[in-house]
Symmetry: C2
Subunit: 341 residues, 2 copies
Amino acid sequence: MRLKELALHLGLSQTTVSRALNGYPEVNEETRQRVLDAARRYDYRPNASARRLATGRAGAIGIVLPTDRNMLLDPHYIEFQAGLGERLMKDEIDIVLSPSKAGDEMATYRRMAISSRVDAVIVSSPTVDDPRVALLNELGLPFVVHGRTNSPLDYAWLDIDNEGAFRHAAKHLLDLGHRRIGLINGETRHNFALDRDRGFRRALAAHGVEVDENLVAEGIMSDETGYRITARFLAQRPRPTALLVSSMMMSLGALRAIRSAGLELGRDISMIAHDDVIPFLNPDAMVPTMSTTRSSIRAAGTRVAELLMELIVEGRSPASIHELWPVDLVVRASTGPAPRD
Amino acid sequence: MRLKELALHLGLSQTTVSRALNGYPEVNEETRQRVLDAARRYDYRPNASARRLATGRAGAIGIVLPTDRNMLLDPHYIEFQAGLGERLMKDEIDIVLSPSKAGDEMATYRRMAISSRVDAVIVSSPTVDDPRVALLNELGLPFVVHGRTNSPLDYAWLDIDNEGAFRHAAKHLLDLGHRRIGLINGETRHNFALDRDRGFRRALAAHGVEVDENLVAEGIMSDETGYRITARFLAQRPRPTALLVSSMMMSLGALRAIRSAGLELGRDISMIAHDDVIPFLNPDAMVPTMSTTRSSIRAAGTRVAELLMELIVEGRSPASIHELWPVDLVVRASTGPAPRD
DNA sequence: CTGTTAGCGCCTTCAA
DNA sequence: TTGAAGGCGCTAACAG
């Protein structure tokens, strides 16, 4: 069913039918009802491409999907997508995933912009100096960064307070008497990891504790990385009495290494992990329950979608969009006082 | 830059430029080169909506994204997406995620089809009797099911041999002398889980071993579920000497429960888990290494994309698309002979 | 309040 | 081998 036919059936012009359907105020209420009824009866839906061509709006927001093995380690990504979806659903806005090889992302953003496939894009996991911000700015494609990056430009971003989160977590451990604290971080080419590193160091500095660089490590946020780094840390003497871990997934591996070393979490060694609140990794279900710095990545997705809509629909200024979300420290059973030697 | 302007710059008609760009054979080679050069120089890209409107093809394939908490437990999903992307990238085909509430998926598929947002869709995680197959068939929207479902219709599908995988795995355990084998399955409303259940039972039956229904359980495939079910199984007397587990994520929880019970994996109790080959959960990195039934979900994504393209571009018949992939049994250190009492 | 008329940017038939 | 013209389905000025 096309608009034309529908109009014909109704004995109205396409214009009127279109207006009735799109909620224009100048349409007679009775006429509108007739149109709406007919549309429902015939299961009419405007053709997406035609509408886009006519309005110049794509009705979609874009995400560049890096397909390389090393980039997609992130099980959190799907939660973020779900969060986006939750909000975009309301306006029937689609999410367009544009697959891209690593190194080719810039070209992919370009393509999305120039072919006007999408009205805006999301920049995820920004690196410390992320070239995407300048590119998108130049292309004039609206975007929101999930995270932050160094840029002279005043772009729209939403980030969680990674620095504060890890500072508070480290402080909590210090207050419990821990002095040898290990940091198991994500890759510091990503800004969030650098922020966490910074928070960790500041807390130690504030307590006059020197950082042992042998107890600072980074890697992709996998179970395996968590295991390997923890095993290495635990081999040192004196060994660390506490760990700060960048993801729940890593904490699983860390926990294995701790058990393998014959230690008991929460007594011999403490741990705080960052929790993105993903449903299949619940800190309350762990044994012992895991102390965490908590911030829902799904909620972030929803909010990013909201901001995107404001950018597109209301023409809100990107420069006015800077949201730094506080992060909760949730103390559970994996943290305890530092053991006496 | 629009086609019109580009043509103007070149002193050619839009038609010729369009043909040159789209590889029509009737264009003079020299002309084509000039056009191609100019297009590159001006960074010209056809407007996606306009092209779609003109050709009737959307240049995108659709996935309905259920945003409800309980449905998205699947960290495997992102790997599947990456696999799709790997193939679709070649033809610059986008993936359109259409967010949908649970229960509303059918309407979302409808919407995608009628508004011709996409050329084809993917049906993931089909239930035992999945209504989507009939709907899409009726809508005439091409689709490939990743998995299988009961339907009188002859639809296109790609599935892994879940039945065979779990049959072999169970047989392997039986051959090692295990008699009390537990099954920790995904939700059996999903067809794959039912197939695994079937394979498990057949293997036991073939060995004349009766299934203890107290050692068969299912749930969402999370760490937590794995832990809870395993703890319950281990509380039984006599306790099981082996476990068949539906996902690596579950196996992490199971392993925790085993350790909490003071048992050693691979000696006191054996385990085989299904491995979708996701990069952040590597069975070789576990301690002990985990025996698995292995099948790359990413590879499946790539192949599904390929099939989709054949469906759309070459008009291949859906009825000719039935791929059942064998599943490898990879024996590692988590399986050993059944312990003597 | 409704209709007429032009496009949106591209592809494609038909004619040259 | 190239071009002119029409149309894909919809929206949006501009009239009435």
